[in-house]
Amino acid sequence: MRRTVSILVLPALLFIFIFFVLPILFLLAQSFLDPETGQLTLTGYIDFFQKETSQIIYVRTLRLGLTITLINIVLAYPASYVLARMPARRRTMAMSLVILPLMTNPVARTYAWLIILGRTGLINNTLLGLGLIERPERLIYTEGAIILGLTQLFLPLMILSLVSAMENIPKDVEQAARSLGANGITAFLRVIVPLSADGLVLGATLVFTGSITAYVTPVILGGNRMLMLSTLLRQRSMMAFDEQGATVVAVVMIVTALAVNLIVRMLRPKPTAQR
């Protein structure tokens, strides 16, 4: 039995090893090699963390990633709660609406934001028409635009993760908490949230990693002056021909994503009354 299982897993493992683990190892190795002498060196990393520009970009990337993840959690929790409590048939329909944005092309979706946020876009025209502003405000090429675009992009992932976790929470658990005197909010925070923590960890990891590695949205909505790690990576490799600098950025991105995943796991809310 055991043997069959390991044989069945083998193809997938091999695929992941050849097409994911190996390239990542190469990348990792390259970031520690001096491009000219081929010797082991830390200069790539020292350069990266010493440069004021990379510090600004790194902090901005982390800040945006965290902001987007928090906004997503706040928006997704109530929605997921309602979705998870829906009768099965209605829920299937509602869920397909939730994942609809994932089915549109990211470039088209981001350009749609330009139509809404642009100087002659929907929001500016409405505000002008209502007499609330005198001249169009700049809405794109700001951090706010990146946050908006990425929140919309990743909200479905957060909702999907939370709904699948909440579906497994028996309805009577919440009723039990209520009958023991907890009000709605206490029951939600102390029962529902801890019991859906797995979905929260998964969703937060997906959204955070997605946000710090996203490319199209920051480029179109943030412009070239709002560099993030992903856009810096492209500048290093394609424009400056700095292969080592590019691999360093890539490794910093991967390590950051892994570290945040670890931290989120450690911080996950645990069911208080269990065991």
């Binding site: 520009t53 700049r138 090429y141 412009g223 002056r225 560099l227 424009m239 400056a240």
Partner: protein
């Protein structure tokens, strides 16, 4: 049944393939191939003006490898001596990089019949005869004449108060990125060609940063910025002029008093090619008056052959004519190549503030 069917299918496929292979084999004996690495724009027009007549004249098959400058340079560098590319087209900065990396070989200009018909700036743009300027691009100013009242006449106008928040310039990492510094140097009263003066241009970059909506990395981005009315005033590359005119917004194209930045599009022979004779014939062909005129009339490229004459309406869309050619300032690409890393970092530092 199934076996029978697949056998007959196989036979059919073989019957179709064998003649193709043998045709190719016999053709190879007579027809040679030339591999040309290029941008891939307007390929249909290039086929009409260059590929078809050249192939017929020299009994050659031209195979094109296309992509943008950085992609193709990266491929050429990675392939090293194993490359199959014989001839390569680059914008100035990338051609210089290819030369510095030792990827190009000297062109025997005595073998080029049309060489003397070229403008001087096109005869040896890289030095050491490593390339020929077969077309010319330029970088001048454009603005919304319906929204900006006082006419734009100088690169210094990029810093004018009435355009603050509506300006865009090319990102430092692009072909014309360093031109920002060089023309600001001229605007500040310095010599744009003297590296010692470039600091004068840099001193104005923080002010420039305050004027910007965003920077652009490709002309299509700039065109979109004009369409969305985010940008009223910017430098532009001449090859995008036709597209800018099609945006429908009211634009005025300006040759500023300090001059216009010129960038020859360079054709070079790849180091170690086995088809040097064909490569030379190809270069001679594309700098000939007839081909350059055809390319100009189709708005593919601006000519570097002095004898080409085009009607006024076409000339307007090209980098063409005495006034324009005389105003061209050429960047010292080799010096800039050395400075690029430092300039990128410095530019990022200012732009990120």
């Amino acid at each position: 049944m199934n076996v029978k069917r697949s056998t007959s299918l196989l036979t059919l496929v073989m019957l179709l393939i064998i003649p193709l292979i043998s045709v190719q084999l016999s053709a190879q004996e007579e027809t040679r191939t030339l591999v040309v690495s290029t941008f891939g724009f307007n390929q249909d027009l290039i086929d009409k003006n260059i590929t078809e007549p050249f192939e017929e004249m020299y009994n050659v098959d031209i195979i094109y490898e296309s992509g943008n400058n950085s992609e193709r340079l990266a491929r050429l560098e990675a392939m090293g001596e194993n490359t199959e590319v014989d001839v390569i087209h680059f914008a100035g900065a990338y051609a210089t990089r290819a030369k510095v990396l030792g990827l190009l070989q000297e062109i025997d200009v005595d073998a080029l019949e049309n060489y003397d018909e070229l403008y001087e700036f096109a005869q040896d743009p890289l030095g050491d005869h490593m390339g020929i300027g077969h077309a010319i691009n330029s970088h001048a100013l454009v603005y919304r004449s319906d929204l900006i009242e006082e006419p734009i006449t100088s690169w210094a106008d990029l810093l004018r108060e009435d355009v603050a928040g509506f300006v865009s310039v090319p990102e430092m990492s692009t072909t014309f990125g360093p031109a920002n510094i060089i023309m600001l140097t001229a605007a500040a009263g310095g010599d744009p060609l003297d590296p010692e003066d470039w600091e004068m241009g840099w001193e104005l970059v923080p002010d420039l940063a305050d004027q910007l909506v965003t920077t652009y990395t490709r002309s299509s981005e700039l065109i979109a910025l004009y369409q969305q009315e985010e940008v009223w005033f910017s430098p532009y590359s001449s090859f995008a002029r036709g597209n800018l005119m099609e945006t429908g917004v009211e634009l005025e194209f300006v040759i500023p008093e300090e001059g216009v930045v010129g960038d020859p599009i360079v054709v070079s022979i790849v180091n170690g090619t086995e088809n040097e004779d064909l490569a030379l014939a190809y270069i001679d062909f594309i700098i000939s008056e007839e081909v350059q005129e055809a390319e100009a009339l189709d708005l593919v490229d601006s000519p570097t052959n002095m004898n080409v004459e085009v009607p006024e309406d076409i000339a307007q869309l090209l980098t063409y004519g005495e006034e324009t050619i005389d105003s061209l300032i050429f960047m010292d690409q080799e010096a800039l190549n050395e400075l690029l890393d430092e300039w990128l970092e410095r530019w990022n530092e200012i732009m990120l503030q």
